[in-house]
């Protein structure tokens, strides 16, 4: 039975996570609110490993189990190196994966100590003593769980199994070819660091740690993907990032049920709120300095092994039109280039459709001389204007996609064929008018002013949707469609923050479209509700006080 007085709409609960209330000014974070945060934990490797039991005391049984488990010898890769330990003729075996280990490291830290080990009495068989006295080099641990040992072997450790011992010694001897740190491929800047993330998670984390040298920088590691078992890390500053936000990130990562995680792009799709949205909801970047500056502002970064792209959440709209360079330039320059980017975004989204609308439906808006010029070029073209623009835009999209796939040696040639010859020939053959070529070229250039790759996709897709609207109803069509899309966008959240914040709902922000002088930027973005809103500190305030501490140490 419904309540007698129901306020329609007001009790319609949004199940979505929201980072605070959005109907007024941002409220300060109370300690009570923080204490209510539900702390879920990052998924660990034990959540993925089946329970196969523990090692037996018989070495032969253990070797047989591992051989069966790895389908040895049909499945190449597993190396079973049977050895006689020291002078006591004790049988043992070293298990590792070929190609996952560094041979020199393996010899030095496992094989040589194992061969030279002296077992004088039973006490020497103590596993802790062996770890302390024999295998001194590198990261050494022990385990008795078969599943856990299997995982260690797969990730590049050597497992040492000895007769009559119910535990295996695991020595980390990983070694594989790594790519060196290179400059970012998609986010190039003139002023600023030229380092980009690599495919190695630990290298990427070290790049962040080098930039944020505070014990408050928290890196929580876990695993995702039932088959890939990919390492994932969330990075944030304990004393700044909102606890609710961090807990939500952890929760969403913990709920991922997927077999193969190849890149942070897969994670992005699995944890975002609106998978059907045209616009990206999470910021991805391959720049460590851009990531570190966001972490310092209270955002949370998600980094995935094997991916040179870090994710930053929450990502509200203005972030997609900003670059790290803006912070390094003096405010008039950075505000100017940001303004150019906004103009570029609008042109990329609307220019072709506005041209179709004006030329087809609102000719009176065009000054007479220009109208005559347009009419002159259009006179010989047999195709309707909208079809003409559609054709050229589609052609450009083909060239753009081909440009990414073409082998780099042929790239410039094809670019010239595509852009110059096709464009020129199309105009000479009277298939398109020159002004349409100008419009398409301007739009293409404008779309490259958008710094974010995903946001470029959004404009590319929506440009065609706008074109359809413009060819049916002119400017009216564009406005009605945009109104629908933007209103819809205004209701969407990215990790609990409305995507159009701080524009609407309004939050005071000195670093959104226009960037104020750096010494005037006193506050961190209010939209993401950081615990510590003030940016400019005095003295040692950087490190968290005992009273604010919410870490694991307590």
């Amino acid at each position: 039975m419904l309540k007698k007085y129901i306020v329609a709409d007001l009790f319609a609960h949004q199940n979505e996570f929201s980072l605070g209330k959005w109907d007024g000014k941002a409220e300060p974070i109370t300690p009570e609110a923080n204490s209510k945060v539900n702390e879920s934990s990052m998924p660990q490797i034990k959540d993925f490993i089946q329970d196969y039991g523990t090692l037996s005391t018989s070495l032969i049984t253990n070797i047989k189990w591992f051989k069966t488990h790895f389908t040895y010898p049909r499945n190449s890769g597993l190396v079973v190196r049977e050895v006689e330990v020291g002078n006591a003729s004790l049988n043992g075996v070293v298990l590792f994966m070929d190609g996952q280990v560094d041979w020199e490291h393996l010899d030095r830290s496992v094989m040589v100590p194992l061969m030279n080990m002296e077992l004088k009495n039973d006490d020497d068989m103590n596993i802790d003593k062996m770890k302390a006295e024999v295998f001194k080099e590198g990261k050494v641990s022990s385990d008795s769980q078969l599943g856990q040992i299997t995982h260690s072997i797969l990730t590049g450790s050597a497992a040492i199994l000895l007769e009559n011992m119910k535990e295996a010694i695991i020595v980390q001897v990983q070694g594989w070819e790594k790519k060196a740190i290179e400059s970012p491929r998609t986010e190039v800047v003139v002023r600023g660091s030229n380092e980009g993330f690599t495919e190695e998670l630990q290298t990427n984390l070290s790049m962040i740690r080098r930039r944020l040298r505070t014990p408050d920088l928290i890196v929580e590691e876990g695993y995702v993907g039932t088959l890939s078992r990919t390492e994932i890390a969330i990075v944030y500053i304990k004393s700044i990032a909102n606890d609710e936000l961090v807990a939500e990130v952890r929760k969403r990562i913990a709920t991922i049920k997927y077999d193969y995680i190849g890149d942070s792009g897969t994670i992005e799709q699995l944890i975002e709120e609106h998978s059907n949205s045209f616009y990206p909801n999470i910021l991805s970047t391959e720049r460590p300095d851009w990531t570190a500056s966001h972490i310092a502002d209270g955002y949370v970064s998600i980094m995935v092994n094997n991916s040179p792209f870090a994710l930053i959440v929450p990502a509200h709209f203005p972030l997609f039109l900003q670059t790290v360079e803006d912070t390094y330039l003096r405010w008039p320059y950075s505000s100017f280039i940001r303004f150019i980017r906004v103009v570029g975004f609008v042109i990329a989204l609307y220019l072709p459709s506005v041209y179709v609308a004006v030329a087809n439906y609102h000719q009176e808006m065009i000054p007479t001389t220009l109208m005559l010029a347009i009419a002159g070029t259009r006179e010989v073209v047999p195709i309707p204007l909208a079809a003409e623009i559609f054709m050229l835009e589609a052609m450009f999209e083909i060239i753009r996609e081909a440009g990414v796939r073409i082998p780099s040696v042929m790239g410039p040639t094809i670019g010239i064929v595509g852009a110059l010859i096709l464009g020129q020939a199309a105009v000479q053959a009277n298939i398109v008018s020159p002004i349409v070529v100008i419009i398409t070229a301007t739009t293409a250039l404008a779309s490259y002013t958008i710094p974010n790759y995903n946001m470029q996709f959004a404009t590319r897709l929506l440009r065609f949707v706008n074109l359809i609207a413009a060819s049916f109803l002119g400017l009216v069509g564009i406005v009605l469609l945009s109104l629908m899309l933007w209103t819809d966008r205004s209701t969407k959240n990215s990790f609990g923050v409305p995507v159009l914040a701080p524009i609407t709902p309004h939050r005071a922000d000195r670093d959104s479209i226009i960037r104020r002088a750096i010494n005037k930027q006193i506050f961190r973005p209010f939209s993401i509700r950081p615990k510590e809103v003030k940016k400019q500190y005095t003295g040692k305030q950087h490190e968290s006080h005992k009273s604010r501490e919410q870490g694991d140490a307590e």
Partner: protein, 362 residues
């Protein structure tokens, strides 16, 4: 939870009230009051606070967390209360279909002459229904951004018009068509602000009751200034004899503007801004219609009614024979008897509420 703040609520109310400036509103006023059209608005402005006080009175006399509809039902009882609520619903419904038809006619005659009216009506109704479906929070957010664009464009337009053409003695004679006539018309045309009734639907969506007054006074002030200044400036640009003959005044001004050889005939650009304004206004009135109806028939959410009501609105929008009929309905029904709904009914409910509460205390 769908809650809105001062910014959003004020923007909604302002847009809801001022959209009429893009319709033949100033023309109808100069028809009635001649050069004293602005005095009519001035008098109408004096009546605005009545709607606000009445709505506040009703809400404060109702149960906790009530809306205008639930409070009215609580005060007047299920039968009479629902009759009054149904009148509110019909009032918003009429605003929706009449304004929809009027604006569609303007689009049809001014920017898309070859597009059939039904296509224009439908293409306006789809975004309106879509936005209404998203809820009042979405409308509030988009209103708070576009309000600057809307009010800004109006003033750019008026300044441009004044630069192009101005009649210095436009406002004389002061009393226009006659003092008593103008004064009486001012009282009747208090219905120009009958849209303020929307406060009864918006205020309960605010978390903080203390902010109600701010929303009401901000929206009354800004919309009064816009309505008054557009009328005065219109009279300056088009003196009385012409003013009473122009169909859509602001559109005509936009056609006049010449900011130089390259910037002229920008009416389509201005129409775009007005289109945004109108779609928001219609989304708000459709929201109020479905929201009141859903509360009358005890539906927990308004969304389920949006689609059926939109179809009915489309059918009703086709009822007027022509633009002039739609306009006459607006002028003779909405703008003549509107204040009975917006001031009369809430006042009545408020008074009954006070009497009832006093009796209960006794």
């Amino acid at each position: 939870m769908h809650h809105i703040g001062i910014r959003e609520a004020s923007a909604i109310v302002i847009i809801f009230v001022i959209t009429k400036i893009f319709l033949p509103f100033q023309r109808s006023l100069s028809e009635v009051g001649g050069t004293a059209a602005w005095i009519i608005i001035l008098i109408a402005i004096l009546f605005c606070p009545l709607t606000w006080w009445a709505v506040r009175g009703v809400l404060k006399n109702g149960p906790e967390q009530c809306t205008l509809v639930t409070a009215t039902e609580n005060i007047l009882g299920p039968l009479l209360g629902n009759v009054v609520n149904l009148l509110y619903c019909i009032f918003f419904f009429m605003i929706t279909f009449i304004v929809l038809r009027e604006f569609s006619e303007i689009i049809s005659s001014e920017i898309l002459p070859r597009t059939p009216l039904t296509v224009i009506l439908l293409s306006l109704l789809i975004p309106i229904a879509f936005i209404t479906h998203l809820g009042i929070e979405a409308v509030g957010r988009i209103s708070s951004v576009t309000i600057i664009l809307i009010v800004g464009s109006v003033y750019i337009l008026l300044i441009g018009g004044l630069i192009t053409h101005m009649e210095p003695n436009a406002l004389s004679p002061l009393w226009g068509t006659g003092r008593s006539h103008v004064l009486w018309m001012g009282v009747i045309k208090s219905s120009l602000f009958s849209e303020l009734l929307v406060l009864g639907f918006l205020l309960p969506k605010m978390r903080n009751q203390k902010e109600w007054g701010k929303v009401a006074w901000w929206s009354i002030t800004v919309s009064s200034i816009v309505l008054l200044s557009t009328t005065i400036l219109y009279l300056y640009i088009f003196p009385y004899p012409t003013a009473a003959r122009i169909n859509v005044p602001l559109l005509q001004i936009s056609k006049l503007i010449i900011f130089g050889r390259w910037l002229q005939r920008m009416e389509s650009l201005f129409l775009i801004v007005w289109l945004i304004c109108t779609v928001i206004k219609l989304a708000v009135s459709l929201y109020c219609t479905v929201s009141s109806l859903s509360q009358i028939i005890r539906l927990p959410r308004h969304q389920s009614l949006v689609f059926p009501i939109t179809i009915i609105i489309f059918s009703f929008a086709m009822l007027p024979d022509s633009e002039m009929t739609a306009y006459a309905w607006d002028k003779n029904i909405l703008r003549t008897y509107g204040s009975i709904i917006s001031i009369g009914l809430p006042m009545l409910t408020w008074i009954v509420g006070i009497i009832r509460n006093k009796r209960r205390q006794v």
